[in-house]
């Protein structure tokens, strides 16, 4: 039965040793160790959270970039379209203006031509009247010489005048 009877000496020494061990380890080992482990776990958790956040942020930025790119592309297309429109407008305007100008110039030319024509006609008429007067004078001169001849001449001249 010796095995089953606790020895007072062992109980005494073990109580003291164990309490001492408990005190020393609790104070100088378990406290810093548990604290360090807890802190590291927290920091790892935080790091993981941060990584997750960074990932999300990255995704957000990427999608934002894409959005921006899309917008930029759309804007570019718009600008191009507008430019095209402006170009077309310009061309059209220029064409129209050219048309108008051309028409105006043609009109002007026509007027000028008419004017010139009128002037020329006046001139011709003056010439004709001058010629007529000359002829008349010549005819008169001839008439004065030969009445029949004068008459014939006046007749021809007049015929010519008509043709003119």
């Amino acid at each position: 039965m010796d095995l089953l009877i606790p020895e007072i000496g062992l109980v005494f020494w073990h109580t003291i040793s164990f309490l001492l061990l408990l005190f020393l380890l609790a104070k100088f080992a378990w406290k810093p160790v548990m604290k360090a482990i807890g802190e590291r776990e927290r920091s790892i958790e935080n790091a993981l959270d941060a990584a997750e956040k960074a990932k999300q942020e990255m995704a957000r930025l990427t999608s934002e970039n894409e959005q921006l790119l899309k917008e930029a592309r759309a804007e570019r297309d718009l600008i191009l379209k507008e430019a095209k429109e402006i170009k077309e407008q310009l061309l059209k305007d220029a064409k129209d203006q050219a048309q108008v100008e051309g028409n105006r110039m043609i009109e002007k030319a026509r007027i000028e031509i008419n004017n010139q024509k009128a002037i020329a006609m006046t001139d011709v008429k003056n010439q004709v009247s001058k010629l007529s007067l000359e002829i008349a004078r010549k005819v008169l001169n001839q008439e004065l010489a030969d009445k029949s001849k004068q008459e014939a001449l006046v007749g021809t001249l007049l015929k010519d005048m008509k043709l003119n």
Binding site: L3, L4, E7, G9, F12, W13, F18, L25, W30
Partner: protein
């Protein structure tokens, strides 16, 4: 009760089975051993009082085994008789004449009470690994007398002084305390040096175990209040574990059967009991003094509940003691096969089984530390559990 989570794992289940198996095996061995030890060989030897060569030749396995698993005043390294090599440990006795200290060398390794040491006017003799006040007269050359008690067993009639000697077990306790301090102060300094960084060396070996104690023992049983009990649980766990392992080392400074000694397991169990009693909340005490049973059952239940306070640590005490002692007896018995058969041919078989059991004991060393700690945590958890209904 939250036992289920560690029975779900198949591996742990098998280990638990093995542990239980060896507990039973062990208890048997112990009973046989004790009866024989006290009945026959040892006492006979002492009574006859002469250790002649004829007696020494006859190898007494019970004496051998119980000498090894018991305590002693010397730390034996190797050799016998003239070639005995070992450490004589100090004897400290508390007597009516004050403290008496002397080296155990003065007994000249005598263990049958035939050598008397006189100190402070008192005479001491050592028999069966214990120190007694020596009797006036020697009987059969021994100053330690025996008498048959009612059960027919030989008991020593001499009285004993209060014995505070630094025995083999006390020495090993001191050694393991020092070892634990060195190990864990080193580990703690590692945490200070490499703050927030990955563990290194010893630190990385022990950190998973510390986290295991925290996450698998403390947290599931103690809930959010686990932090208060962590120092105790960790200390108990590592103390038991390291002493279990030291017990498996067959030579100095191991070999002492510290956790297989009832005094040690008793002190540890008492610590758990004290923690339970000081931390038990009103639900715990309410359950004991006002159990939720019909009124006429209360006179029966209250004593049962009060008894229950003490059975839990008692079970802790016996479980650890029995398991570790069993392991030691098993290993030693297997080794003794060589001497029983008096043949070297048995040695390979014997060694094979010893290695096999040794490997299992290595597991048992961990499991018993784990079980003691988890049951302590469980009992504390039951005492601090917050619940209105039951």
């Amino acid at each position: 009760m939250k036992f289920s989570h560690f029975l779900t794992s198949k591996k742990i289940g098998i280990l638990a089975f093995l542990a239980v198996f060896f507990t039973f095996l062990n208890v048997n061995a112990q009973n046989h051993g004790q009866e024989h030890a006290t009945d026959s060989a040892v006492v006979e030897q002492v009574e006859t009082g002469h250790h002649d060569s004829h007696e020494e030749k006859k190898f007494d396995i019970n004496t051998f085994i119980f000498h090894h698993i018991g305590d002693s005043y010397e730390f034996h390294f190797w050799g016998h008789g003239e070639n005995w090599t070992g450490l004589y440990l100090p004897v400290i006795l508390y007597t009516p004449n004050g403290l008496v200290c002397f080296s155990s060398k003065e007994f000249h390794l005598n263990d049958d009470g035939s050598v008397v040491v006189e100190k402070a006017g008192m005479r001491f003799a050592k028999a069966h690994g214990k120190i007694y006040y020596a009797a006036e007269e020697a009987v059969h050359g021994s100053y330690v007398h025996h008498e048959k008690n009612d059960k027919g067993k030989e008991v020593v009639t001499n009285t004993r002084p209060l014995d505070f000697s630094i025995t083999k077990n006390v020495f090993t306790i001191f050694f393991s305390v020092a070892l634990l301090l060195v190990i864990f102060l080193t580990v703690a300094s590692g945490y200070k040096k490499r703050e927030g960084k990955a563990p290194k060396g010893l630190q990385s070996v022990l950190e998973p175990i510390i986290i295991f104690v925290r996450d698998d023992i403390a947290k599931p049983n103690l809930g959010h209040k686990y932090e208060r009990f962590m120092p105790y649980l960790l200390t108990v766990f590592f103390f038991i574990w390291i002493n279990n392992m030291l017990g498996l080392v067959p030579f100095f400074p191991g070999g002492a059967n510290v956790t297989g000694n009832i005094a040690i397991t008793m002190v540890l169990a008492v610590f758990t009991l004290i923690i339970i009693l000081f931390n038990g909340n009103k639900y715990y005490w309410g359950h004991i003094f006002n159990p939720p049973v019909p009124w006429w059952l209360k006179p029966l239940m209250i004593p049962v509940e009060i008894f229950g306070i003490f059975t839990k640590p008692f079970a802790l005490m016996i479980r650890l003691f029995a398991n570790i002692t069993a392991g030691h007896i098993l290993v030693l018995s297997l080794l003794c096969l060589v001497f029983i058969f008096s043949s070297l041919a048995v040695a390979p078989v014997s060694v094979f089984f010893v290695v096999f059991i040794g490997a299992i004991e290595l597991l048992v060393a961990f499991i018993q530390a784990f079980i003691f700690t988890i049951l302590s945590a469980l009992f504390i958890g039951m005492a601090i559990e917050e619940h209105a209904d039951h």
